[in-house]
């Protein structure tokens, strides 16, 4: 057990330290100016010095990302269930859900400000738009891939539509749904940051996106790096939480959880 842990944890940790050492050494050796590329030690120092600001900003971004992600999970699953209820409905509407995937969020973010006003609601809407499609696509694919023999079995025993949905289709689609949610979790954070770039200016604490913009304008590249790392960390935490929830739910029956 311990050796397995060592074998899986040691290589990425060693690679990280090697990369940081190379970065630190390279910046110092070549005397790169700090506003162009700060050494990792400066980023770390800024992270410690501005910890409370970073934490407050991360929380603001997390709130918007979580709201967008939660909405994606709910609305995405509902839309997929609706589309799966009829081939005609799927053929008619599915192409338009693709719009959510292909729309350049930066281009429509000003529209979100017009609709929702600047602030958290517009940022959450941006997180939602970016992250909902993977949930729809994966849930729909999961429902469509239900074992036909099991469908026959439910038909044979006279199962009603709702019973088939709740006892067969949704549990069967669960591994697919979690794949969609994992993708959506990372995208929701990206959507929130992008949303903040355009729509995040409002009263109160600024999110990480605003912090990145402000530190860029002040040439505080060390703080910018720290904020970017926080945003990445936020995505990883959300991804990890969704993966953990999936693994717990699927652990006794699906190979993806092992």
């Amino acid at each position: 057990m311990r050796s397995v842990l060592l074998r899986s944890v040691l290589p990425p940790v060693a690679a990280l330290f090697a990369l940081l050492a190379l970065w630190e050494g390279g910046v110092r050796l070549l005397e790169v100016q700090a506003f162009l590329l700060p050494p990792p030690s400066a980023v770390f120092a800024s992270g410690v010095k501005d910890a409370s600001q970073l934490a407050a900003s991360a929380w603001v971004t997390a709130e918007a990302a979580l709201a967008g992600f939660g909405l994606s999970a709910l609305a995405g699953a509902l839309v997929a269930v609706l589309l799966s209820s009829s081939r005609l409905l799927e053929r008619a509407l599915y192409p338009y859900t693709l719009f959510l995937q292909t729309v350049p969020i930066v281009a429509i973010a000003p529209l979100l400000v017009l609709w929702f006003g600047p602030g958290q609601r517009a940022v959450a809407a941006s997180a939602f738009i970016v992250s909902v499609f993977p949930v729809i696509a994966n849930t729909l694919s999961g429902i469509r891939s239900v074992d036909p023999a099991l469908r026959d079995l439910f038909r044979l025993y006279g199962a009603r539509r709702l019973a088939t949905l709740l006892k067969l289709e949704l549990p069967s689609a669960l591994p697919h749904i979690f794949t969609g949610l994992r993708i959506a979790s990372g995208l929701a954070v990206i959507g929130a940051i992008v949303g903040e770039f355009v729509a995040g200016f409002s009263e109160g604490t600024a999110g990480l996106g605003i912090l990145v913009l402000a530190s860029y304008r002040q040439l505080r590249t060390d703080l910018m790096f720290a904020a970017v790392l926080c945003a990445a960390g936020l995505g990883i935490v959300l991804f990890g939480a969704v993966s953990l929830a999936g693994a717990r739910l699927l652990r006794r029956w699906h190979p993806s959880a092992s």
Binding site: D152, L156, A163, K167, S172, L250, R252, W253, H254
Partner: protein, 272 residues
């Protein structure tokens, strides 16, 4: 114009000794799939309540299609299937027809107990009642100690037994089995055949059993229907002259070998 699919019929007077099997009458059933592939051509059958009948024939001869039409999972292009007595009039049975597929097809997220109880759950039976029924039937198939396990934790043979338990939990009057043990090893298959035959004796339901194996068909069934290659027609309808009580040793007896040989020759003549 002939009617399609299932038609209720007046209850038959002569049920099997235990009174729990239902009869099946297949009247000139044709099945042509979209694209013009004819799977069945004019199949005519009369299966008495409580019979154990094996359907044998080359791959793609329409045996499984016929089973699906009898179950109501597919429709005949022409002709009809009549169940006697009609499902609505079946006594003491919640779901008169049960189907066992080629693979176990269990719900992997449910325990063995909840898998076996599924048909009762879908027909609205209360949780304590359906769980008690599932426990009883799992004990009958020898899985009484495995009720809390999940399908992924079982062997192929055990999974198939759960599938059999799920089919039997409704106390079906007609059990349709589509090559259920085909994917199992010889030893497990032999054991499951013995278990199935014992359950048939005990419960008295009608069994239609599709298989590729002539010796399995001969050991299990009282009557064998041999199908021609596609489009499937019944080319041989043979009632076996074998004892009602069958043991593993029967497979080594000359009478059994003669029956298998006769079937094999018939398959060569009409099925090849």
């Amino acid at each position: 114009m002939p009617s399609l699919g299932h038609e209720p019929a007046p209850p038959a007077a002569n049920l099997s000794p235990t009174g729990s099997g239902i009869g099946v009458r297949v009247e000139q059933v044709h099945r042509v799939f979209p694209g013009g592939v004819a799977a069945l051509e004019g199949v005519e059958l009369e299966i008495s309540p409580g019979a154990f009948v094996a359907l044998v024939g080359p791959s793609g001869c329409g045996k499984s299609t016929l089973l699906r039409i009898i179950a109501g999972l597919d429709s005949a292009t022409r002709g009809r299937v009549v169940l006697t007595p009609a499902p609505g009039e079946a006594r003491g049975s919640r779901a008169p027809i049960a189907y066992v597929f080629q693979d176990a097809h269990l719900l992997p997220w449910r325990s063995v107990l909840d898998n076996a109880a599924l048909p009762l759950e879908l027909s609205g039976v209360s949780r304590p009642e359906r769980r008690a029924a599932a426990r009883e039937v799992l004990a009958q198939v020898g899985l009484g100690d495995f009720t809390a396990r999940y399908p992924a934790e079982l062997s192929g043979g055990m999974r198939m037994r759960v599938s059999l338990a799920r089919a039997l939990v409704t106390r079906p009057r007609l059990l349709l089995m589509d090559e259920p043990f085909g994917a199992l090893d010889e030893l497990t298959r032999g054991r499951l055949d013995e278990q199935l035959r014992a359950l048939w004796h005990q419960l008295g339901m009608t069994v239609l059993f599709v298989t590729h194996s002539l010796s399995e068909a001969a050991w299990l069934a009282e009557r064998i229907l041999l199908f021609s290659p596609r489009p499937g027609r019944v080319v041989l309808d043979r009632t076996l002259e074998l004892p009602r009580q069958r043991t593993a040793a029967l497979r080594l007896e000359p009478a059994f070998a003669r029956e298998v040989m006769a079937l094999s020759e018939a398959l060569e003549r009409g099925g090849a």
